[in-house]
Assembly symmetry: C3
Homo-oligomer: 208 residues x 3
Amino acid sequence: MDFSFSYYIGLAGIMVFAISGALSALEHKDHHHDLFSVFFTGFITAIGGGTLRDITLGNYPVSWVRDENILWAIFVGFLLVILLPRILTKLRDELFLFDTLGIGIYTVLGTRIALDHGVNFFASALLGMISAIFGGVIRDTLMNEVPFIFRKEIYATACLAGSVLYIILNIGNIDSNWNLVISASVVVAIRVVAVRYNLGLPKIKLFE
Amino acid sequence: MDFSFSYYIGLAGIMVFAISGALSALEHKDHHHDLFSVFFTGFITAIGGGTLRDITLGNYPVSWVRDENILWAIFVGFLLVILLPRILTKLRDELFLFDTLGIGIYTVLGTRIALDHGVNFFASALLGMISAIFGGVIRDTLMNEVPFIFRKEIYATACLAGSVLYIILNIGNIDSNWNLVISASVVVAIRVVAVRYNLGLPKIKLFE
Amino acid sequence: MDFSFSYYIGLAGIMVFAISGALSALEHKDHHHDLFSVFFTGFITAIGGGTLRDITLGNYPVSWVRDENILWAIFVGFLLVILLPRILTKLRDELFLFDTLGIGIYTVLGTRIALDHGVNFFASALLGMISAIFGGVIRDTLMNEVPFIFRKEIYATACLAGSVLYIILNIGNIDSNWNLVISASVVVAIRVVAVRYNLGLPKIKLFE
């Protein structure tokens, strides 16, 4: 694995998130579904979590402002959605392809960036999770819905588990590219199992 | 045109956005309509987009934190709404005065600030648009509505067209004050024509 | 009073805000109420306003990224809510304990940080208020509700009064710890009186 492995994985994460966001705009019932809405929803979903992480860390310039390739990756995702909406919808529904890959990749890249900034472990784990989930949180909020993370089977918790695992393996001095692959795969695996078997965290009842 | 032309145009943009936001608070059905709500909605609408642009660019100190005049411009807009609500509402409805002027001015000033920071063209165009539309996006989201940009005739796309035009004219070495006037006017013109003739972008249908 | 007085008061403010946020997640009707939702809502409520203040000021590193104790204070608040939901709900409803203390403390600490950054008085007063109210604003927005500040009796205005008082006493050279206690108490007092007697600001009627 060469130096730029995590860079290309990052671009792939951006593109799958853009696809996931653009598809959700296409399906939203109160939504206009025009070209701008579809692009913009993909853009927000793709860059929201990483931008929030970067401005919280003071990590300037923010990735998509510095690196135009990120914007082109979003644009390619947008074009794919425009050209192949049915195929992509099917891939998403049957294989959980886009969003799940996206949160796996973003969790570990976000955790790594926080650690590189010398951030403590607790905050690094949270920032990894925030990188992964906040694009979707912002998207859902703009669409006037209760965010996904508050409604679904294990989601953010899978990210948190992945970022904690990344931190532990990092302390154990594992190669960072292998760590990326392993920890991202664990996020994806937890998420896929949670959806298949409809698993959630324990609920807390205030008024029985 | 002197050095400070864009400064005064910027203050005018702040004030018209504050008027637009304060008026929308006055008309909101679930809304309390007290003095604070009206002021705060105007404030958020006026500074939201520029603040998001500045923190994304790492352009510190953020404009309204650095320059108290921006806050006074918002306060004047707020006073006008309190004193002359009917006249301002009429001007808004018949001449699209406030919001449309605001997005024109913010688009070009935001694009210019991004270019001054050495940002690539693609991101600069998006940051110009974000400067213009996000005050309204945050306002609508706080009011628990699907943001304007997802519902209406051509809106954000007009801003994007204006910021692309600004970048092209800037490459062509046009005087930046003339560029400001021309590109902002194009945003306003596109928006006014779109509202008058009820024009939207092509829609994408997923399920026919 | 020693140097670290405001530090421990700040941690107390974090914890009461986390309790307030976690309790509101527990009671939300459309809400999943799982362990993650309760923790995350407490976290967002506790750090939202201060994080927005810090990234608006460019005050890096953001407090909870720099200081792990803040995250542990949130975690303790979360554990208390899990273990003692009924007692805490009762304390909140009868004594307005958590949110009201939180806004008092955050208002003055936020104003102080802005003044320490050399920010003008108008923006410092607004940043003090923003520190206090935006955790709740973000929480309400994520839960798809019109934020508290737009619906209730005097709330944000109490914070604004407290931050103006802090600035005035600061100009008068009062000891900053006493100023903290006095100005925060005034915020709490205004808020408690407003709730008890159902006081609001004057409303503005557009269409009589």
